[in-house]
Structure formats: structure tokens, C-alpha cells
């Protein structure tokens, strides 16, 4: 698809799946989809795989020149680049006006669409290798189900301005600072895309959303890194990209369960809540809130919608066994067993095919976001929506880590669950959660304290090793420390140490993890049960530079040596 089809309100919206408003650039996200459009259309004849529709949902892209005019005509740069709070920036952007010549196009567009829409960022730097910016800018989902065009138009305009404003939110500014780029060079295109899903009463959501990566940084069992990994969730993909509880599997072995120690672990780690677009009464009017129209539900509501029978398993207490599908009244486990094991639809085959062609197109490993919807009683006619693709960074440098080569007293940290590949021998600073003060209920406070230390270190261009408990970057504070990327932007090595009661599965689908891998950050996961444990005694004897309630920053006289062997999944930090 080489030629951009300019949006023409006089043509039926149904006639073209991609069109454009403006003259300049479509940004990273939209460019990737444009690149994949012809491939998807040619690989899946008539956009079908068996009876399943496979396509990229229709989208209209507002190109970057519109952003330029918006910023200039409303004189927004001085405020946008200032230290004003996100709320003030977002509110000011709401009061500004879009260029007059696109208002009519948007009004016409929205008059033809009555389905929920995702208004997504697609910036110049976004989703490019080494500059991933995954999840840094905001996406706003709108129900778009109001009767009158005027209201739908206003909601669309509010969402576009919100995405524009997010270019200059503090998280974005810190991020640009971390990657040493000038935020003034950033330009934002906006993708207006139909959400893949079905309406269930006042809820609209896909039965399945997922992230598939063609390289697995945490292969388990028989799976290999090159085999890739898929994360699946019920409802909107927010559960995955925020690092919530989801189902991970290897596309090579779709029927193999995740490596949980017990059924109890599986029950603990299964998805229990999901996100949908709220089609009903609005809880609060707040155009500067990303989740204004999103609601979280329990599995009970999905069961009422008759949607989980095709994606869940049921635990039977009496036999202590897990059965595929809905069987009796036991607890449900969102394991996607009917699809992955019984193969009632060929989701895994579609994913493998798509990952293969995407890798060929990008000539590197890729990460894909997708969503699938179906009528509960007609799953064979499901729709697979290809939502996003971005290249992954996988280093090919040859590094060997053989634990037997090192004396025990030289090892500070060892892990056979690592992410990344390479060597770093320049880091002298370590920021860590004080092991004796860690409590899951205080993880938010810990995130704040880390942010402060990160800020002072990045200001001095100092990189550090970050050590903590539970899953870094989880949106669920009970699973780990809920930092966002900009709060730890100076970390070059991140270590997560699991605790007996905090042992989450690796969240490979989240934006947080994508950014980590793209920036070549080494990630060590140390199980509480592993033989070679973190040498806390040595760490606690080092020179303290800063100490807060939960966090300590120490500095060594000479740098540590960090070696990560990505092929074998082992890594070591030597004193």
C-alpha cells in the first residue's frame, strides 16, 4: 500500500479500510500497520482463514501536519514544554481548537461510524526499534454510541486533543530525557480505529486480546526463545499491556500449561477481572482521563455474557482437577484451553502465520497486538483483528555465562531467567528496596521513592542497577512495584526477586517489558527458591548515598560486571 488514500467524506466510509487526513507523516504505529496491510490481505485470501475473518480494523489517520498546525495556531508550545502538571496541559489542550479544515472531515467521519473507537497515538518516534515509546502516550477509547452526531463528534475531538496533550505529559518528557531526544522534535499523528469486539448489554469488548512476540526471553520447558511467546487475556488488551494477570504460552506448545508449581498457584494467578468499553451511563465526565469510558468487571459478568465458555477451564475441587470449558460450579481459570488445547478455532495457527510474515516484513523479531471477537454460539465465524506490530530488539552478541567459572563469593546475583544479551562493566550504583522493610501494601509508596532517586541520578547521567520484589511495572500493586517507565529510566539492569507469596508469571506482553528489551536493559528474575541467592549481606554493607523509608541507594568504589547470555537465559552480576 504505497499511496495514501486521502479521506474523502463524499465516499462511503465502507469503501476503504485505511484513509488519511492531512499531508505529512502517519507516525510509527500507523506506518507499521500500513506496511503490513498488503501482506495480511495477500496471506489471508479474502481476509479469511477458514471461516475466521483476519484483517486490520478500519482506521483513519490524522497525519502529523495537523498536529503542527494545532500546536502553532493555539500557541501551545510554551505551556506544553513547561513543568505544568499533566492535568493543566490536558485541560489547556481541551480548550484549544483543531485546524478548522479537519473539523468537517471528522464530523462526516463520525456521522458514518456508530461503533466504539480507539483513538491512538502514532508519533514519529513511536514503535521504531531502539526508540519504542511503547505505552508512553495515551490511547482513549470512546463508546461512540450516542444517538446524535454532535455528541459523538465532540467526544472524538476531546479524545484527539487528549492524545495530543499526552505528547507532553511528564512521563513522556522524562522518557525523552532518558533517551536523550528533544521532545520538540516529536510530532503526533492520531489513529482513529474501530475497536474489535462485541456488544454485551452495556459492555463492549473482545473475547480475547493478546500480545504475541516472536522471541521469548523466558522460555520454559521444551520451548525455545525463537519459538516466541503469546500472552492472552479476556476483554480489552489493557490487562496485558498494564502487566496484569494473563495467560502466557508458547506457540510451539500451545497445550502446555505455564510452569506453575501447583493448581493453587494457577488459581491464584488466573485472570479474575477484565476491561470493557462502557456503553452505558457515564460515571464521570472527564475528558482528560484515559479510562473515562473503560470499566473493569469480574469473570461473573463475562459468564453472564456467555463469553467465557470458549476460553476457560474449571477447577473441580472434589477431583482436584482442571477441566476444559465450563463444567460445574468450580472456580473458572482463563486458560483458553478450548481454543489452545481442543482447537475449536485455529487461533494459534493464525498467530504463527502472522508472526512469520511480520518477521519477514520487518526482517527482525516482532511484537504483535491483536484482538478477537465472536458471537458466543458462533465462534467459528470469529474475527481476528491485527492491531499493532513493532520490531523487537534481540541482541546476537555472543556472551557465555557458566556459573562454574565463578567463585561463589564473587557472585552478587545469578539468574537463569534473564532478558537481554551482552555485557555491562560500568555500573557502580545500586538502588534497591530494603529487604527487611518490604510490604506489598506499600508498593505505591516505594515507586514514588524510586522515582525521586531516579530523578536525581538521571540528572547526573548516572546509570544504576535496580533491585526489588515482585514484578516491576505491574499495574497491580499486589503483584509488584507499580512503576512506570519514566520512574526508573536510569536503570540499566533490573532485578526482580520473587517472594514466596509474590511470585507472578513473567509479563512479557506489557509495554513496560517492551521498552526494557528495546533499550537493551538487562532484566534478572531471581526466584526465592533458587539455589544461588542475591548476596544481600554484601549489598547492605556498601556505602549509602541516599536512604528513604523503603529504598536505599549505594555506590561502590569500582564497577560491577554484568554478563547476560540471552541464548541460554542465564546472567550473572559479579562483584
Amino acid at each position: 500500500m504505497n499511496k495514501k488514500i486521502i479521506f474523502d467524506r463524499n465516499l462511503m466510509y465502507e469503501n476503504s479500510s485505511f484513509n488519511f487526513i492531512g499531508n505529512d507523516e502517519p507516525g510509527g504505529k500507523a506506518s507499521s500497520l500500513i506496511l503490513m496491510k498488503d501482506t495480511i490481505d495477500s496471506v489471508f485470501k479474502d481476509n479469511k482463514y477458514n471461516d475466521i475473518t483476519v484483517d486490520i480494523p478500519k482506521m483513519t489517520v490524522i497525519l502529523t501536519d495537523i498536529f503542527d498546525i494545532f500546536m502553532k495556531e493555539n500557541d501551545l508550545y510554551s505551556l506544553a514544554l513547561s513543568d505544568q502538571s499533566d492535568d493543566i496541559i490536558a485541560n489547556t489542550f481541551q480548550k484549544a481548537s483543531l485546524p478548522a479544515f479537519i473539523d468537517g472531515d471528522l464530523y462526516s467521519l463520525i456521522s458514518k461510524i456508530h461503533k466504539p473507537l480507539a483513538i491512538r497515538s502514532s508519533s514519529l518516534f513511536e514503535d521504531k526499534m531502539y526508540e519504542p515509546l511503547a505505552g508512553i502516550f495515551e490511547t482513549k477509547m470512546i463508546p461512540n454510541n450516542q444517538f446524535d452526531t454532535k455528541t459523538r463528534f465532540n467526544k472524538l475531538v476531546e479524545a484527539i486533543k487528549f492524545v495530543y496533550a499526552s505528547t507532553f505529559f511528564s512521563s513522556s518528557k522524562n522518557y525523552f530525557k532518558a533517551i536523550k531526544k528533544d521532545i520538540e522534535q516529536e510530532k503526533m499523528a492520531v489513529v482513529i480505529q474501530e475497536i474489535v469486539g462485541e456488544k454485551y448489554g452495556d459492555r463492549f469488548y473482545p473475547a480475547i486480546s493478546g500480545v504475541a512476540r516472536s522471541y521469548n526471553f523466558y522460555p520454559t520447558g521444551k520451548s525455545k526463545p525463537e519459538g516466541g511467546v503469546v500472552s492472552l487475556a479476556l476483554g480489552l488488551g489493557k490487562s496485558i499491556v498494564d502487566g496484569g494477570k494473563v495467560w502466557n504460552y508458547s506457540p510451539e506448545f500451545p497445550a502446555a500449561p505455564p510452569p506453575y508449581n501447583s493448581t493453587n498457584d494457577m488459581l491464584k494467578m488466573t485472570q479474575t477481572e477484565f476491561w470493557s468499553v462502557n456503553l452505558g451511563k457515564l460515571f464521570e465526565y472527564d475528558p482528560i482521563k484515559e479510562t473515562e469510558y473503560l470499566v473493569k468487571h469480574t469473570l461473573k459478568e463475562a459468564e453472564d455474557d456467555d463469553i467465557i465458555k470458549n476460553i476457560c477451564s474449571t477447577y473441580d475441587l472434589q477431583s482436584d482437577r482442571i477441566y476444559s470449558g465450563i463444567s460445574g460450579y468450580g472456580p473458572r481459570i482463563i486458560s483458553f484451553a478450548p481454543i489452545l488445547k481442543t482447537k475449536i478455532i485455529p487461533l494459534n495457527e493464525i498467530l504463527k502465520k502472522i508472526m512469520k510474515v511480520s518477521e519477514e516484513k520487518f526482517q527482525t523479531e516482532v511484537e504483535i497486538e491483536f484482538a478477537m471477537s465472536y458471537q458466543p454460539d458462533n465462534i467459528q465465524s470469529a474475527r481476528f483483528g491485527f492491531l499493532q506490530v513493532r520490531p523487537m530488539v534481540v541482541s546476537n552478541k555472543f556472551v557465555e555465562v557458566r556459573i562454574e567459572d565463578y567463585k561463589q563469593e564473587k557472585i552478587f546475583i545469578y539468574s537463569n531467567h534473564i532478558m537481554g544479551n551482552g555485557v555491562n562493566d560500568k555500573i557502580k550504583d545500586i538502588v534497591f528496596i530494603k529487604p527487611n522493610d518490604f510490604r506489598a501494601e506499600y508498593t505505591r509508596a516505594m515507586a514514588k521513592e524510586i522515582e525521586q532517586i531516579n530523578y536525581s541520578l538521571t540528572d547526573k547521567n548516572i546509570n544504576y542497577i535496580l533491585i526489588g520484589f515482585g514484578r516491576w511495572g505491574s499495574s497491580d500493586p499486589w503483584l509488584g512495584i507499580p512503576v512506570v517507565w519514566n520512574q526508573i529510566s536510569g536503570a540499566k539492569v533490573i532485578v526482580e526477586s520473587s517472594l514466596p507469596d509474590m511470585n507472578p508469571d513473567y509479563s512479557q506482553g506489557s509495554h513496560f517489558f517492551h521498552n526494557i528489551t528495546s533499550f537493551g536493559i538487562f532484566y534478572f528474575s531471581c526466584k526465592s527458591t533458587q539455589k544461588i541467592k542475591i548476596d544481600w549481606n554484601w549489598l547492605l554493607k556498601q556505602k549509602i548515598i541516599t536512604e528513604t523509608k523503603f529504598v536505599q541507594h549505594v555506590q561502590l568504589s569500582s564497577p560491577l560486571k554484568v554478563k547476560v547470555d540471552g541464548r541460554n537465559g542465564t546472567g550473572v552480576i559479579l562483584k
Binding site: 478548522a100 479544515f101 473539523d103 468537517g104 472531515d105 471528522l106 464530523y107 463528534f153 465532540n154 475531538v157
Partner: protein, 427 residues
Amino acid sequence: MSRTFNAFEMAQKQFDDVAEILNLDEATKDLLRNPIREYHFSIPVKMDDGTSKVFRGFRCQHNDARGPGKGGIRFHPQETIDTVRALSMWMTWKCAVVDIPLGGSKGGVICDPHNLSEREQEQICRGWVRQIARDIGPLQDVPAPDVMTSAQHMLWMLDEYETIHGGKYPGMITGKPVGMGGSLGRTEATGYGVIFTVREALKEMNIKPADTTAAFQGFGNVAQYAIKLYNQLGGKVISVSCWDQADNTSYTFVKTDGINVDDLLAITDRFGGINKEKAKALGYEVLAGDKWIEQEVDILVPAALENQITKDNVDKISSKVKIIAEGANGPTTPEADAVIKERGIHMIPDFLANAGGVTCSYFEQVQCNMNYFWEKDEVFGKLDVKMTSAYLDVSRLAKEKNLYMRDAAYVISINKVAQASRDRGWI
């Protein structure tokens, strides 16, 4: 303004031509070729120097079959009743072509605001309303700003009207300041509307705006905003002309690599006159006022006064010109129009091209009646949709029936108004 030129005769001729095409009956022709009502009155004003002066005022209501009358009030030293009659008729067609439920009116006062103090202008405004207060209003006839009248004038008129009628009637007049019952986007609306139609014409010709150049006559409100939007679309304006009050003549300012509207605005007086010395310093070539029409451009936008493209200068239009978009009312005489038609230049007629203003005025009335005011994006979104849809209707008919664009626009409008008059049982 030429002495021989009579805008009303021109408007009637245009109507007669289309009446012929439509085969209208005599009664309908009689009804529509003249205003249904007109008011002539005197406005005595105590001047600042203590003397008294009587100004002549008018209001013509051409036709209100489709809804309350709508039309501006002009302050101009050379105002005539025939000009006001013509303009009221054009307002009827204009409201009909963009399909807003309003009729056509126009008013005026023979005066020169350049030579009047603010207080004197206020007295004229209040005096005008006192004479006509019983025959205008939100349900009868709604005035608006026009040549040399502004939001401030409208507010004085509203205040006088509300004093007379003893209530609040924000929908009595439009073009009020924002925050005082005015609509966001009203200032930009006419100029933007011109460019919305130009954009659609270029789309039909498969030409990108970025590949075009334009020359504007006039640098008032309409031209300024039209140029801004045209620039945003990527087009380049190489010349503007404007009236110089001190020299009592007009000049054309040319910059072949594109004028900078902000630079020019910084050296423009409140009546749209550009300081020619400062313009020269900015690299502009300053030519005689009539040179705007000779520019080698793709688009000509007459956005000043009526009777500007005549049989005397129409041949000076460059062969490069593909589109003429009439930002002003009646800028082209019928003789010149015939030449333009013959040459195959795409004409976007005045009552279509500059209908953005009245459309936004209609939005203002709607907002006033709801007492709920819209965001600018909503105003422009609806304005664009209305203007584009009107343009496409006219263009489609012109192609289908092989009509000149002006004739096609008249056919649509006159048909609608004639039908409304028949539906009401008037004829």
C-alpha cells in the same frame, strides 16, 4: 462604485435568467424579483460638536417564506436602497443554497464610520433600532454585522432592542461578541467558508491545494481568515489588495514567494488598510489597486465590494486562473460573468462561496435560543459539512444539467424559495 452600476438591476437580471430556466409563473416571478417589504427611515443624531445630523437608514426584507429574515447592516457613504434590495435578495438565495431555515434581508445606513466617533456610531445604531424595532426580532428578521459594522455595533443594537421590548432577546441579532451571546468561530466563518468551497472545487479538479497560488482583492475579515485557512491547506497567496483611507484609493501588495498574513496583519489598520511603506520594507511590491486581477494565479478571490470584475477588466484575468471564488457579494457584473462563463473558469458564486457567515450566524441564533454555546471545533465541523454539502449539490446540478455554477446555485435556491412560497399558499 461605478455610477452606472446598479446592483439591484444585476440581481434581478440574474433572477430573470434563472426564472426562465425554471419556467416560473408570473406571480412567482413578481414575488421573488422584489423585496416583500422595505423600510426607509431617518435617524437624527446629536453629533459630538453639538450639531444635529440626520442619517438615512433602510431595511429590506426580500422573502421570509423559509424562515425569519437574515441579513447584515451596512454602514457605507455610498449606500443606496437598490444595493440594499439586491443584497437582501442575495441573502434569500444564500440561506436557501446552504439550506438553513431563514429568509433574506439586508439593512444599511448612509454614513462613513471613518469620520464618526464611537459615540456617534452608537447613536446611529440605537436610532436605527428605534425606527425598526417593531419589525425585526428573533422571530421576524435578524440583523448581523456587514460592511463597516462590528460586534460592538450589534451589541448596541441588541441593548436598544431589549430596552424597547423589556426583556432579553439574544437571538434578535447575531455577530455579537463571544461571551455576550456570540458564537465562537463567527469571525472566521465567512473566510473559512470560502476556502471550504475552494477546497472542494480543487478536489473535483484533482489539484492539490499545495500546488496552487491565489490572489485576493480585499484584506478585511473575510480575506484574512480565508488566506489563513488556504495557507494551512498548503496554498500560497501571492497578492492582496486593499483600500487606503488616507490616499482614498486602493493598492495591490505582491510577494511572489507568498505573502505572510501575520506580517501584514501587524501593519494593517482596523478597516483592513495595509501600511504601504512598511509593506515595502517587508519586501512587498506595491502596485495599483486594480492589479490584483491580473496576477498569474490559479485562484482569484474578490473579497472586497460588489462590482469589481467588470467588462472593462475581465479580459485582464490570466489564462492560468482556474477558479474564481466570490468572497464579496456581487463582485462580478453580468457582462463580466458571461466572459468568465465563456472562458470556462470555474465560478463559485458569491451566495454560495461566502455563505459561511450566515451559516454561522444561524448557528449563533440556535445557540442563543438554547442558551448553550458550542466549542469552536463543533462550529467549524458543522460549518464545513454545510458548506461542502451545498457546494457539492450545486456542482452536481451544474454537471448534470450542463449549467454555469452560478445558474446552478440559483436554480437550487430559487426552487426552494418558490416552493416554500407555494407551500404557504402565497402564490
